[in-house]
Every structure is written in C-alpha cells, then in structure tokens.
C-alpha cells in the first residue's frame, strides 16, 4: 500500500473519531496537538486502525508510539 494512501486513510479515521472534518494530520503530530486525544482515545484510534487495515498490533508495538508518523510507519510495515 502506498504511503500517501495510508496517510489519507489514517487522516480519515482521525477525522471520524475526533468529529472534525477539517482536521489535517502531520507526521509530527502527537496527543498534545489534539485536544480530545487522551489515553482513552489512543486506544480507540489503534483499534480503529486495526479494523480498517485488517492488521493486529503487537503488545510491544504500541506502548511507545511517539507520534502520528510512527503510527503510520507501523501500519505500513504490517500492511506490507
């Protein structure tokens, strides 16, 4: 899957979950940049990504994701 396609689909998931159609994500974005992005929403995001890309995150994959970029790299690696 192309990087750009993953980026767009991840952005769409962010928009749905945070109920903001104008949200523009960047690779450097972290939980500090989106008001509603707390630990609870982190889980929701990850579960939504798993569902959408039909992948399964490993325990060690997810507990130290630093930003959106790392999240997308992880997805890219798992989607293959």
């Amino acid at each position: 899957m192309e990087k750009q396609q993953i980026f767009e689909e991840v952005q769409e998931i962010f928009r749905t979950i945070f109920d903001d159609e104008e949200l523009e994500i960047t690779r450097e974005m972290t939980a500090d940049d989106i008001e509603d992005w707390d630990s609870l929403e982190q889980i929701n995001l990850l579960v939504a990504m798993e569902k959408h890309f039909n992948i399964k995150f490993k325990l060690e994959d997810v507990h130290d994701l630093a930003n959106v970029g790392e999240m997308m790299d992880l997805i890219e690696r798992l989607v293959g």
Binding site: I13, T16, F18, L40, I43, N44, V47, A48, F57
Partner: protein
Amino acid sequence: MDILEYPFDPAQVLQKKRSLKRELLKKEGLIPKKIAIMSGSTIGEIKNILEVFLLHYGIKPEFYEGEYALFYENLVFDDGSLAAFAPDFIYIHTSRKNLKFFPTTGDADQAVADGMEADWKRFETAFGAAARFGCPVIVNNFDLPTHRVMGNRDAVDKRGGVHYINEMNARVADYVAAHPGFYLNDIAYLSARYGLDNWFSESQWYLYKYALSMDQIPNLCFSIANIVKSLLGKNKKSLILDLDNTLWGGVIGDDGAEGIALGLESPGGMAYSEFQAYLKELSSLGIMLNVASKNEESIALTGFERSDSVLKRDDFLCFKANWGPKSQSIAAIANEINILPESFVFVDDNPAEREIVRQELPAVTIAEFDGPEGMIAAIDRAGYFEVTTLSADDVKRNEMYKENLKRAELEQSFGNYEDYLKSLDMRCETGAFVPEHAERLTQLINKTNQFNLTTRRYTAAEVDHLMQDPVSVTVFGRLIDKFGDNGIVSAMIGHIEDDTCYVDLWIMSCRVFKRGLEDTMMDEFVRRSVEKGAKRIVGRYFATAKNLLTREIYATMGFSKMKDSETEAEFVLEDAESYVPRNHVMELERLN
C-alpha cells in the same frame, strides 16, 4: 438513529461516538438521569458508549465514575461523593478479573470452598452497600475463563476455573432474584453469544486493563442501556405483524390454508412455527400482538384455524387484513388500543412495506431480518421488550386491552356518554399510597407520558418516603368494571405548604381515559388535602411533546387559571373546603 439500532456495527459506534453524541443531544425532551459506574477495570470508553445508547433512548445521563478497580472500596467506604451525587442508577462493572481467589489444581477442597466464600463475601458486601442508595443497581456476572488448565474437566472439578465461575454466577443470579432493585447484566451470556475469543482481548487487558475487548464495548453498553430504558418504562409494548411469509410461508390468498408452510413438515414451516411459538411467549409477558396484512380477512383467518398453527385469532388484539396501506392499518391500531406509534415494532418480510411504514410513521420501530430463520433473533436481540420487572398487570395486559375493545363496542350502542359510563358498573378502589402497591405505582409514575401533567419521575426510594412524609398527600386509584379489573391506573402526589396543597404529580394510564376516573381522583385528592389542613389547591401543567391533552384538565374541574404560557400553566382552586365531589358514575371503596 440507524447506526445505534440493532443490528449495529460496533466499530462504527466506537468511531462515530462524537458525532452521534452531538446529533443526539439536539433531540428534545431528553430525560436527565444520574448514573454511577463503579469500576472493576477500565470504564472510560464504557461511559462514552453507554452515553450514546442512552441518548438514543431519550435519556440524558450524567455520570459518576468510580476510581479505577475500586468498586468495592468506593461502594463500601463512600467518601461522601457518591451519596452527594445521588445516583438514579448504579452499574457495577466487574468481571472475572475481579475475583481475588481463583482456584488452582493444587488447592485442597477446603481452600477452594474458603476462597469462594471470601470472594463472594466481597461481592455481597459491595452489592449490599450499593443497595443503600435506594436506586436500581445493575450488576454483571462473570465471563468464563479463556484458559482451562484441565481442559474439559475444568467444568467438573472444584479446582477448575470454569467450575468456579459457574458457581459464582449461580450465586449472583440467586442474589439478584432475592433482592428487589437489583438487575443482572448477563455478561456470561453476552460473552457466549459473541464468543469468548472475541469477548476478551489479552493485549487490551495488559495494555489498558479493559476486561473486555474494545469491539465488545458497544454490545455490553447496549445491554446495560436496555435495562435502564426498560426500568424507565421505555420498552416497546406491541408488535404489528404481517402474515404471508412472516407468520407462515407462502401467500394464503393463492395457496389456501392447506398450502401455506407451517408446522413440522418443511424446514420453512418449522421456522415459522417456532417464530409463532416465540410470539406466543412474548404475548404471555403482556406484549400485545396485532396483524397488519394485505389480505382478505376471511381467508387470512383460515391460516390460524389450522390445528398446527401455534397462534390463534384470539392471540391477537387487532386484526387488520385489508388492501389499504399498512401505515393506515397501523395508525388505526394505535388509535383503537390508544398507545403511541413509538411503542410499536413492525415485523414484515417485505422490505418495500417496511420502507413505506418507515416513511409514513417514523416513530414505529422496524425489525430488520432476512428470511424466516432470522426473525426470532431480530426481535430477541434488539432488546425491545427487555423484562426488568414483571408485574401482575404486565401479564394481564392483553386481557385488559381486549376488555377495552369490548368497552369501545358498548360505547357505540349508547347515545349518551354518561349512560354508557353508568352501564359499565364501575368501582374505584382508592387510598393513600401503601407499600404493597409501591412497585406498581413507581412503574406507573415512570412510564406514563400522555396523561402526566408534570412529568416528574420518582425513584422507588422517593415513593417509599412519601408514605411516611406527613406533609405529602398521595392518592392511588384502581378501576374495576363489568368487563374486568384495570388494576392501579392513576396516582396523584401533592405536598402541603402553609395552607396550600401543590399537586406535584398526576398521572393516569391511557387505557382508562375519560372513564370518569379523572373526577374521582380529584374528589379524593381534594378531600385528603383538606383533611390535612389545605385551604386551596394549586395544580401545574408542564408541556411535553406528549401530554397536550391534559393541558386544560384543571380548568374543566372548577380551577381558575393563574398562569399560562406555551411551556407551562398554573391553576388554583380557592376554598377547597367547599369543593363539591364530581363523580357520579362509579362506586367508591376507600381502603385507608
């Protein structure tokens, strides 16, 4: 909102919870309720998703969130915050992860027995502590373990985890059965239905301490929301059923009674027969069955004359077989039995008919299924008729509505309405609230929408309190006539301040409107208020979407209007001591 209607997609609900909440908060007439969630594990997303399902049912929750995994401590040693919150409902979110003792294969018999006692004692103490808040308490049982050290023997051996959970679940069920105000949220069943491997996710437990997989949270919350809305009187009341390819296979007009598929001879016939048997059971719980079918009535009826038809004509209240649009048949049924369209579930195999009803009568709920084999599940799992309490009145409801149809027939034969009322030989049993009627009164107070002047809701504890409160005036009315016993169908509550009695609540079941009970209730209320020292009575009306018909009732009873605006009105009866009783159509029997 379709996204929250059964069968919903849990992933959609999770992802769209924010926009769902935003939309649902725009609805008018939401009932505010305070819900305390006590935590046995992470509850964050459970609160959010429960909120959208409750909003969907017209309930606006305010939450108290217990501290992480401290359900026992928060309940037993409340720091005052829970009592100050004054919950309307308590939900204790526990799972097998909250069992402190869990048997291992090396344990002695006595150690297992002691461990179970200690575990159970903790839950029993927490439940008992929750009970003192006087509100309904919803408790989980336990999900089965994902691993079985001994394999199948785990269910048999006292040291087995499966055996342990099954024993604990029996104790929870016994506790709930023995304690009014307790309701089981059956996660043992839910986890079995969705599959243990789906229910529990090891990684989500290790990472976030969720005792069930995120995907399952909507299923869990839907179940809790169904219990809450049922307790608030928001269950559906009645089914409207199509006939051809819904209650039997084939078209009776073409195939004849002998040609339709029913009974044990064909796979399709078996499915329809089982569906009929399921409906028959629902009807014994007081759910009213009606028919809306495009058919010749005389031919349609022959289907129910077959000896292998589980349902008979007598099991249905209204039977509309004609060639008009079904939306008209449904509207006519709503009118005849006098319940609101929102209390109906429509069951029809034909998607086109469903669509027309959806367009014409948006308040009616439509069961979604594909083929006769899916019909029971479509109704059973949607929680339309979640049974939380089963009063004697519920079981008799079908009979009562049938009697009502007979009354309507009789009414037609009288030119004068009062002559008709007198011909009913009515008798009203009345009195101040008493403990033996408290459950029915609470149920009636919380589910009556049409004849309800203030829409004030009372918890069981508040109703109990009224019975001891010296400045409260309470009256209930039970109406019996020659066709049968309607049960307790009306209640009034007031409180006296100085020399004025304020009517805080007046409700009446819609099945006895305009039977003269309005007058009898007012007579008794005024009499009891005056006995307690009131010189004047003040009645208030607060407008809702459903109670318009009661707007002017005080004005018709000799009260004068003091205030009048779009949203509320106030009426006063000066000189209550010289009030002249208005009832002259029924006998009165005062019980206290």
